[in-house]
């Protein structure tokens, strides 16, 4: 008879609520009449995200002190709860965006079920406190995303995107798993804090096996966070995947992978600090350089945003490499506007895509800002947010991140970030330029008359994302306090 550990159901509740919603969505495909299937599953998924978010908030309130639960496999702390709230918020926005997307009737239930399951997996992953649960959570949401990428079999490139993501993601997972094995081989431990203790006890700080293992784990997480040079899949997958899914991936996957990287590095490898801070800083520089420079020449807006997301992985890695409390706060704070902006930007792209029936390029965005004032204005604020202009949360995020790097004594990293921001302006402003400064007549579209489609859910999601983006600029103090509570759970 094996002893079963006591399970802290409350700590697991965000994941469980997500799974519950997913189960209902799946079953609805069978039991709910077809005419009301679409609104019903969307509602269930939305409620699932809200419920999971509320549970995460309760966990945040109830867990001022971090504790290891379920046989030390997961951590119940505010850090995880914070990221879960961000993921669920991104999921909720994604539901709004997906509702307007055209999608085959026969897999609507599955679509929302996979979305909720993926979010549940992410919620589980950020709680991971052992290499085992880390891998489990990672695969859990990755498998969901592989399918979500390929779900629109009618859309050219969707299958290709799914396959690419599957192969390269599998590669990333394999690297991460191999790294975990090396770390286990070196320390004999799986739990993050146990690894740290074993490292100190046996003086393994410069053990090659451990360092190679750490490097491979970091590489595996960088795959998921699409940090250069592990980003090769990003543009193709982002371009091919259904646009709402892309938005969710850009926002949530990156948030979770980076948050987990911060937890793993600070909890599991505090003694190797000198090594990994440099490594992460280098990753950040490569991501910033590669993402921004490659984005300059993009004409397809989805690809452009994909490269921009690579560069943002770079910005957030700066916060991790700073390895101080301010860095933790900065990362967590930045996740809020960043996730909202990502989902929102892809939502707008999706709306334009449906309008034109072809991939959105900078050229065919012409006049969009004047035709759809709300979406255009939202998109403009998203681009300004990405570029880090004031009056958007993106500015505050960058400001905090640069401050953390400066506090860590790495002013050179501030300069790198500033130069990267300057380069990024060119393509972010190119989107605004395309939307507002080029007349639609240049497009030569046949006038079809009538008003543009009313996509209330999508417009609502975009509006909400804009409110988060602008609101987080003014409400810095409460959000930073909120992030401080979360970051204090880590030994920063």
């Amino acid at each position: 008879m094996i002893d079963t550990p006591s399970v802290d159901w409350f700590a697991l509740s965000p994941s469980l609520v997500g799974l519950g919603a997913a189960a209902i969505c799946l079953l609805s495909g069978v039991f709910v009449p077809r005419w009301m299937l679409r609104p019903f599953v969307a509602l269930v998924a939305a409620l699932g995200f809200i419920g999971a978010g509320v549970m995460a908030a309760l966990v945040y309130i109830e867990s001022p002190n971090a504790s290891l639960e379920v046989a030390d496999a997961i951590t119940r702390d505010r850090f995880a709860a914070f990221v879960q709230i961000v993921v669920m918020g991104a999921g909720l926005l994604t539901v709004g965006v997906s509702y307007s997307a055209r999608m085959r009737r026969d897999h609507i239930g599955e679509y929302y079920a996979l979305l909720a399951t993926a979010a549940a997996g992410m919620a589980f992953l950020v709680q991971a406190s052992s290499l085992m649960t880390l891998f489990l959570g990672l695969e859990w949401f990755s498998v969901c995303l592989y399918v979500l990428c390929a779900i629109e079999i009618d859309v050219v490139g969707s299958l290709e995107a799914g396959l690419k993501y599957l192969i390269i993601g599998g590669m990333g997972s394999a690297v991460l798993l191999f790294g975990s094995a090396l770390v286990y081989g070196s320390t004999g431990e799986l739990g993050f804090s146990a690894i740290a203790n074993a490292t100190t006890a046996h003086d393994l700080t410069s053990d090659p096996l451990l360092l190679v293992g750490l490097a491979m784990i970091l590489a595996g997480l960088a795959f998921k966070a699409s940090a250069a040079p592990f980003h090769m899949w990003t543009p193709d997958v982002y371009e091919g995947a259904p646009t709402p899914v892309t938005g969710f991936m850009a926002a949530a996957t990156k948030a979770v992978a980076l948050a987990l990287a911060l937890r793993l590095l600070t909890v599991g490898f505090p003694d190797e600090k000198d090594v990994w801070t440099i490594a992460v800083a280098v990753l950040a520089c490569i991501s910033l350089a590669w993402g921004n420079i490659a984005a300059l020449v993009q004409t397809n807006v989805k690809r452009l945003l994909a490269y921009s997301s690579i560069s943002h992985a770079g910005f957030m890695l700066i916060a991790i490499s700073a390895d101080n409390s301010l860095g933790g706060r900065a990362l967590l704070y930045y996740l809020i506007p960043y996730s909202a902006i990502s989902v929102g930007a892809f939502a707008v792209v999706g709306a334009r895509e449906r309008e034109l029936g072809e991939p959105v390029t900078l050229a065919n965005l012409a006049g969009f800002g004047w035709e759809r004032p709300l979406l255009g204005f939202s998109m403009a604020t998203f681009m300004l947010g990405f570029a880090g202009f004031p009056l958007t949360g993106g500015f505050m995020g960058k400001f905090l991140i640069f401050s953390s790097a400066s506090e860590a004594g790495w002013n050179w990293l501030v300069i790198v970030g500033v130069v990267a921001t300057l380069v990024s302006l060119y393509y972010y402003l190119a989107v605004i330029r395309a939307m507002y400064m080029r007349p639609a007549a240049e497009l030569g579209l046949a006038p079809i008359g009538g008003s543009p489609p009313r996509e209330i859910m999508l417009s609502g999601a975009a509006f909400l994302a804009m409110v988060v983006n602008v609101g987080s600029f003014f409400a810095v103090q409460p959000l930073v306090d909120f992030a401080r509570g979360a970051a204090d759970a880590l030994p920063l």
């Binding site: 301010l326 706060r329 004047w370 300004l384 202009f389 004031p390 009056l391 500015f395 400001f399 640069f402 401050s403 400066s406 506090e407 002013n411 501030v414 300069i415 500033v418 130069v419 921001t421 300057l422 302006l425 060119y426 402003l429 605004i432 330029r433 507002y436 400064m437 080029r438 810095v476 103090q477 930073v480 401080r484």
Partner: protein
């Protein structure tokens, strides 16, 4: 009430902008915007009577501070020193004139247009009012957003290229400034400008100086200027050269000078040299420019060089003169750009070859151009003469060579202004000038006359500004203890011995 004045000045136009954006009647957008712009001027005049110009206190007038986020000691802190209050006054007057011009001409998509103009007003006034470094940066950057759209959407045929150049240049400067802001704030432990101790880090200083040098612009960072001034609509060009460039002067004085006394002295000669080159070079380019806007644009480059010379001169005389000249130049270039706009509307060209003879039968236009032009070339008795004289007198003590360059600039100014006047008003009527082209309409006069009126008042009484420019920040006649404490290594110079001594005293390095 009076403590709220700075906040009201900053946020009143923003409220107007939001109102204009939300009310779905494009037809009345212009009237609402004009109303708000005039109310803003009214509040500023109200402040003029309440402003304490002679206070020796370190805290600015209308001081108001609310903590924004405590982690890094960032606060919403606004207030006006005497010099920044004059610059803010310039801003609200010129913005009102620009909005009125836009209203008179009638712009497409009026809600977006007037909302952005009001938003820009808020940002500019915010720059002059902010006493917190991060807040300053935020307003400084916030100016970019409306300007970008205003040039890019309502500009001329080459607007897209012009906006890209403009944005890349200015953002390169201001992002370097962001790095400096962060490092300064973290090393000094606060972002508050009033309480932050002075710094002597050269690198941080250079980050700030770069941003302001691009914004002003100083030679050789003026690459964006001709395109931006030519391609934007006349009222936006008026705002750009008249108001936005003054943000750089504010930054040079409030941040570079006050917060970095050491590096300021170290780099004085370099910046004076760049400013002097800009003055002469800009004047020469203005003399050779083929169109009205080119003349005004390059004369702006020259004038900003001259004003910068005054700021970087030792002693208070130069700074007083700079503030006076900044206000003069703002009003002058705004009037000239708006007049250029009215001429372009009548002839559909700004090319000097195709213009000429416009004085005949158009007395109002001729009078306005003559008066502005004569003041701009700094004829003795004009306010520009007073400003330039103070600057030259101030810089003479620093090195007579700088004064020679400045005097050369004044001579060149006479050359290009007279060339402009004669090319537009006199000579034979140009091919683009039709006999039926009207004189200035009453509405146009209503826009330009107040600007010129301000100039005439200042010509009669330049001391209104020059004697009250450095009162609050800079206490003339420092006490001996203040002298002992002064961190600036320069010797006291005469009666007008200026320098924000009071501020330095409160700062320990």
């Amino acid at each position: 009430m009076s403590d709220w004045l700075a906040t009201i000045l900053v946020f009143l136009p923003l409220a107007g902008a939001i109102l204009v954006w939300l009310i779905p009647f494009g037809r009345i957008a212009g009237s609402i915007a004009l109303l708000f712009a005039l109310a803003e001027v009214g509040f500023w005049i109200n402040g003029l009577f309440k402003m304490d110009f002679d206070s020796g206190s370190v805290t600015p007038s209308f001081d108001q501070q609310v903590t924004w986020f405590s982690d890094l000691d960032v606060s919403y802190h606004v207030g006006f020193y005497a010099f920044s209050f004059w610059l803010a006054g310039l801003a609200v007057v010129v913005m009102a004139a620009a909005i009125a011009y836009g209203f008179w001409v009638g712009r497409d998509r009026p809600r977006a247009y007037f909302g952005l103009m009001l938003f820009l007003t808020s940002a500019v006034v915010g720059v002059f009012a902010s006493q917190d470094l991060l807040l300053f940066y935020i307003f400084f950057e916030a100016m970019m957003i409306p300007l970008y759209v205003l040039i890019g959407v309502w500009g001329g045929p080459g607007r897209l290229g012009a906006t890209v150049k403009f944005v890349i240049y200015t953002m390169a400067g201001s992002l370097l400034m962001l790095a400096s802001v962060i490092v300064f704030g973290l090393t000094q432990g606060t972002f508050d400008l009033v309480t932050a101790p002075a710094s002597d880090s050269t690198w941080i200083f250079l980050g700030f100086a770069a941003a302001f040098a691009v914004k002003a612009p100083l030679f050789p960072l003026h690459g964006w200027l001709p395109d931006a001034y030519r391609e934007s609509s006349p009222e936006v060009a008026a705002v750009l050269s008249g108001v936005i460039s003054k943000a750089a002067i504010f930054g040079f004085i409030r941040i570079c000078f006050v917060e970095f006394p050491g590096p300021f002295a170290d780099f004085r000669n370099l910046i004076l040299a760049l400013a002097a080159i800009g003055l002469v070079y800009g004047s020469l380019l203005a003399f050779r420019a083929p169109d009205i806007r080119g003349v005004i644009a390059y004369s702006s480059l020259a004038q900003m060089g001259l004003i910068t010379i005054g700021v970087f001169a030792k002693g208070g005389l130069g700074v007083s003169g700079s503030i006076l000249q900044a206000v003069n130049h703002g009003l002058l270039s705004a009037s000239l750009f708006l007049l250029a706009g009215t001429i372009e509307r009548r002839t559909s060209t700004g090319s000097l070859d195709r213009l000429g003879g416009m004085a005949r039968g158009r007395p109002a236009l001729a009078t306005m151009i003559m008066v502005t032009g004569i003041i701009a070339l700094a004829v003795p008795g004009s306010s520009a003469f007073a400003g330039e004289f103070l600057i030259l007198a101030g810089v003479f003590g620093t090195g007579w060579g700088w004064a020679v360059a400045g005097a050369a600039g004044m001579v060149l100014a006479a050359m290009y202004m007279l060339r402009l006047i004669s090319a537009v008003l006199h000579k034979e009527p140009g091919p683009a000038v039709s006999d039926v082209a009207l004189d200035l309409r009453p509405a146009e006069l209503g826009i330009v006359v107040p600007l010129v009126g301000c100039l005439l008042v200042l010509s009669a009484w330049p001391a209104a500004i020059s004697d009250n420019a450095i009162g609050t920040t800079l206490n003339p006649g420092p006490s001996s203890s203040a002298r002992a404490n002064r961190v600036n290594d320069e010797p006291p110079e005469g009666r007008m011995d200026f320098v924000p001594v009071t501020i330095h005293v409160s700062k320990t390095r």
